[in-house]
């Protein structure tokens, strides 16, 4: 992994967040709720129990009624990266590398944006990492080998943080309904993005002839004479799968970014990752706090 390029990109980009949907612990970003920041938001009548420090005594003097000054909430929102480390992610080294780079870019960008980051690793099980050092170390030594794919998200949904920014990095090559997987993932999310990482050969198979296709995860095999027609059918199904994920994401307020190892990381950041609304150019677009 080219860490320098990742660091450079994380400096150029920021995570695009919609503050209206953000929630989080008290932090540096304004949340959608009422908080105690210095930014004035509104007045309302005083009700017993309100903090008397927020009573606008000047207004009381003017209007002879107790009103409370409402300020914008200051929060520190979470970014949750759900990383598919099942065996299918290692179908080629380039695919594996690209997935790691994407995950690291999001992590580094979030850290640079001073966002709290949580990494969920799907593989041998569902593992949660919330300390930056652990996340960093894990992304450094990640070797996809587990049998647990993203379909596990539907069966065993992780306890995701409410109003968090959620990013799923996977190849999405599972014969499952995207809605079933996305529904628990999108619930109470501030935003959701899915980055599909594929190998070039997975997108455009270049082998032909009699082939025993062996699934890297299930161990199943299929004897097939791979012809142009078979490849065309495969491509059609792959695109249909991707389209199904896109539709499902749109229904849940998200977008899909499809990346393969032929696309350079910076091109991916500028292209699909930015197009799907996950990244924004720092200081130019409306990202950051």
């Amino acid at each position: 992994m080219n860490r320098a390029e990742v660091q450079s990109l994380s400096a150029r980009f920021t995570l695009r967040v919609d503050s209206r949907r953000l929630r989080g612990r008290a932090g540096e970003r304004l949340g959608s709720g009422v908080g105690s920041s210095l930014e004035f938001q509104d007045y309302r009548e005083y009700v017993p129990g309100d903090d008397v420090r927020h009573v606008d005594w000047a207004a009381f003097a003017r209007r002879d009624e107790l009103v409370v000054r409402l300020h914008r909430e200051e929060i520190s929102p979470s970014v949750e990266i759900i990383l598919d480390t099942s065996a299918s992610m290692a179908s080629s080294a380039a695919k594996c590398e690209r997935a790691r780079e994407i995950a690291t870019l999001i992590f580094e960008t979030a850290r640079r944006d001073r966002l709290r980051c949580i990494l969920w690793v799907l593989g041998a099980g569902i593992e949660r990492l919330d300390r930056s050092a652990d996340i960093e170390a894990r992304l450094e030594r990640w070797t996809p080998a587990g049998a647990l794919g993203i379909e596990a998200l539907a069966q065993r949904p992780p306890q995701l943080t409410r109003r968090s920014i959620r990013v799923l990095v996977s190849d999405l090559l599972v014969p499952a309904d995207p809605d079933i997987i996305l529904r628990p993932l999108a619930r109470d999310a501030a935003s959701i993005s899915v980055v599909q990482v594929l190998d070039t050969e997975e997108e455009h198979p270049d082998f032909r002839g009699g082939t025993r296709l062996e699934d890297v995860e299930s161990g199943g095999s299929l004897d097939l004479v791979v012809s142009e027609e078979a490849v065309a059918r495969y491509r059609k199904r792959l695109l249909a799968l991707r389209e199904a994920w896109s539709r499902s994401l749109r229904r849940n307020g998200g977008e899909l970014a499809a990346i393969n190892d032929a696309i350079a990381l910076d091109a991916a950041a500028v292209g699909p990752l930015r197009d799907c609304g996950l990244l924004a150019v720092r200081g130019v677009e409306g990202g950051g706090s």
């Binding site: 179908s91 190849d171 082939t211 299930s218 299929l222 004897d223 004479v225």
Partner: protein, 658 residues
């Protein structure tokens, strides 16, 4: 043990499977992440087949295991003791009474149906052994023959034996099947009391009590004169389960052939009322013209026609030729001649008659028969001739006067010149000697006995006087009557003709042939063969071999008879006409008829099955029903291999379908 050799064909599946795997399509392996995107229903590889190195995979081994299990199953492979299939041991009553018919069929056909049902219950792979219970047990089917063979053999089976020896048949059945096997007995009768409690017998009675008239005794006597009629003595018995008083029975006698045969001629037909109790004894007289050959007697049809029919062979004429050797004026000649004349099957032999045959019996004065060379030269005799010497060769004395030699010759050197005092019977007799049968010598005054030498064995004696003796060296055919015939009362007593008749009968028994021509089943026949001369060279110098005697059974089976002068033929277990042949010539014919009231009495016939209710029987039966073969584990292994193979092959498909 291989039960079904055709199952070997199933082993061909093994090379076939290997061949399939050798030609199985091989592809380059490629790992993919989304196999489900590749699979397409109906998509089939279209490239050709090439031989590849056999791949060691689970599917190959499971398919081979499955083929092996199927082959073993079809081979009906069995191991060790468990090699035995279900084995039905059946004892089938082969006696005549099984031929009995009733309104709902015959006992034999019911037995066939019952056996068929037993074999069906035992299963198509069952084996069967059938022992026929007759006078001697006989294996009809088996041991352990396939069930279809048994059915074929039973189609042609007809019960025909005169009686059934069930214990012997059961013993043979247990030898075939082992002592612990359950023997099924099919008979028209219920089990006898002795067998009723035996636990390993499943007794199935297939009879029906019906009325039946039967011949239970028969005898044919030949008319001695050429124009004399033959007489048949018949005993008919009626067995009626309803105990009715009498039934009209028709008795018919045919000649030429049995009734119903076109060659038969009806000789006599009589109708009699036969009582249930006591039966009926009748005497039939057959005119000489009709009595020249065999006769067939039959009763009117009833439930068991077989016991109402019999063949009667005409007994051969066997006259004993008796020669007398007395002085012309000797009164003893008259005594002897008178006694011989009273015996119907004896005739006086006179050399002048021109008969070349030697005399069978020579009765003569002792003093004339002292030396065989001297005395026998006068008359033709041979080694078979019997002798009776009369008198002790003592000088004949007048009542109280001095004794004088009756023949005027010298006194017999074997006898001492001493006369016993008058002796009054009865005397001490050797029990059971055929010569003395029926003799009592009661109040017989015996006079003129002399002392005999030690070469005479006493048959009748008084004190230390031997009155009738047998020559020690020739005890069967040389006797002495130690008496002065004219002086005592022997010739006036009934014992005298009886003694001569016994002598004639004894000699007659040793005539070639047999006294008996019509026997009841189970009787034996004593047969005397002609004395065989030593092979003598003929004119061409070749030796004439004595012809071998052969016994021919009604079924045509031939048995060579041993070269003995007297034979006792026993074990004649076939009903019908038997024949003894010497060379090409018929020597003696005789018939064996059933004549067994026990078989004819169908009142005891029953139809039921002895309830095998004893715990031991039920338990044993369940033991024998356990299928000892390998089918169960084979089926389990086969099913395991099948489903495992299905699972192994289905895994990629399942993934693909999903």
């Amino acid at each position: 043990m291989i039960g079904n050799p055709l199952g070997l064909i199933a082993l061909l599946a093994i090379p076939a499977i290997i061949g399939i795997h050798l030609f199985r399509r091989r592809f380059r392996r490629r790992s993919v992440a989304g196999l489900f995107l590749w699979a397409s229903p109906g998509q089939d590889p279209s490239s050709g087949r090439r031989i590849h190195r056999l791949e060691n995979n689970a599917s190959l081994w499971l398919e081979l295991l499955l083929a092996l299990c199927a082959a073993i199953y079809l081979l009906d492979l069995r191991l060790g003791e468990s090699a035995s299939l279900p084995h039905e041991i059946i004892v089938l009553d082969d006696s005549l009474s099984m031929q009995a018919k009733s309104a709902d069929g015959g006992a034999a056909s019911r037995a066939r149906e019952q056996i068929d049902e037993l074999l069906r219950e035992a299963g198509p792979r069952s084996q069967v052994s059938i022992v026929l219970a007759g006078s001697r047990p006989q294996v009809l089917i088996g041991p352990a023959a396939p069930a279809p063979t048994a059915r074929e053999a039973l189609e042609t089976w007809q019960p025909r034996q005169a009686q059934a020896d069930m214990p012997a048949a059961l013993e043979l059945a247990r030898e075939l099947a082992g002592p612990d096997a359950i023997v099924r007995v099919l008979s028209d009768l219920r089990p006898p009391e002795a067998m009723a409690l035996e636990p390993r017998i499943d007794w199935i009675a297939v009879g029906r009590p019906v009325w039946n008239a039967a011949l239970t005794a028969l005898r044919r006597e030949r008319g001695l004169a050429d124009d004399a009629p033959d007489r048949i003595f018949v005993r008919i018995e009626l067995f009626d389960p309803q105990g009715r008083g009498a039934r009209p029975i028709e008795v018919r006698v045919h000649r030429g052939a049995a009734a119903g045969d076109p060659a038969s001629l009806l000789v006599l037909r009589e109708r009699h009322d036969v009582e249930t109790e006591g039966g009926l004894r009748i005497e039939l007289e057959i005119p000489a013209a009709d009595a020249q050959g065999d006769l067939w007697i039959s009763l009117s049809d009833d439930a068991l026609p077989a016991d109402g029919r019999a063949q009667l062979v005409r007994p051969p004429l066997r006259r004993v030729k008796v020669a007398l050797l007395f002085a012309e004026d000797d009164p003893r000649r008259a005594f002897a001649a008178r006694a011989v004349a009273a015996i119907p099957e004896a005739e006086l032999f006179t050399p002048a008659s021109g008969d070349d045959e030697p005399a069978h019996l020579l009765i003569g004065a002792s003093e004339l028969m002292r030396s065989a060379d001297e005395a026998f030269a006068a008359l033709p005799t041979n080694r078979a001739t019997s002798f009776l010497r009369v008198g002790a060769a003592l000088p004949e004395v007048e009542s109280d006067g001095p004794a004088k030699d009756q023949t005027g010759g010298a006194a017999n050197s074997d006898a001492r010149v001493a006369e016993a005092p008058p002796l009054l019977g009865p005397f001490l007799s050797e029990s059971g000697h055929p010569l003395l049968e029926g003799l009592s010598f009661d109040r017989v005054l015996w006079r003129g006995a002399g002392r005999l030498g030690e070469n005479w064995t006493p048959l009748v004696s008084a004190g230390d006087w031997t009155l009738i003796g047998a020559e020690a060296a020739n005890a069967e055919r040389s006797f002495i009557l130690n008496v002065a015939l004219g002086r005592g009362s022997l010739v006036k007593s009934p014992d005298w003709p009886i003694l001569v008749a016994n002598l004639v009968a004894e000699r007659r028994r040793r005539l070639p042939g047999s006294d008996r021509s019509n026997l009841r089943f189970g009787e034996s026949l004593t047969l005397t063969l002609p004395a065989t001369a030593k092979p003598m060279p003929n004119a061409e110098g070749e030796q004439n071999e004595a012809p071998e005697a052969v016994l021919i059974a009604p079924s045509g089976q031939r048995r060579e008879l041993p070269p003995l002068s007297t034979l006792r033929l026993a074990g004649l277990d076939e009903l019908g006409l038997w024949e003894v042949r010497r060379g090409e010539a018929s020597f003696h014919r005789f018939a064996i008829n059933a004549l067994d009231a026990r078989e004819s009495d169908l009142r005891r016939a029953a139809r039921d099955r002895r309830d095998p209710s004893s715990g031991e029987l039920a338990e044993e039966e369940s033991d024998t029903l356990v299928d000892p073969r390998l089918h169960f584990p084979l089926v389990l292994i086969g099913l395991f291999a099948f489903f495992m193979n299905w699972w192994v092959l289905r895994r990629p498909l399942a993934r693909r379908d999903a």
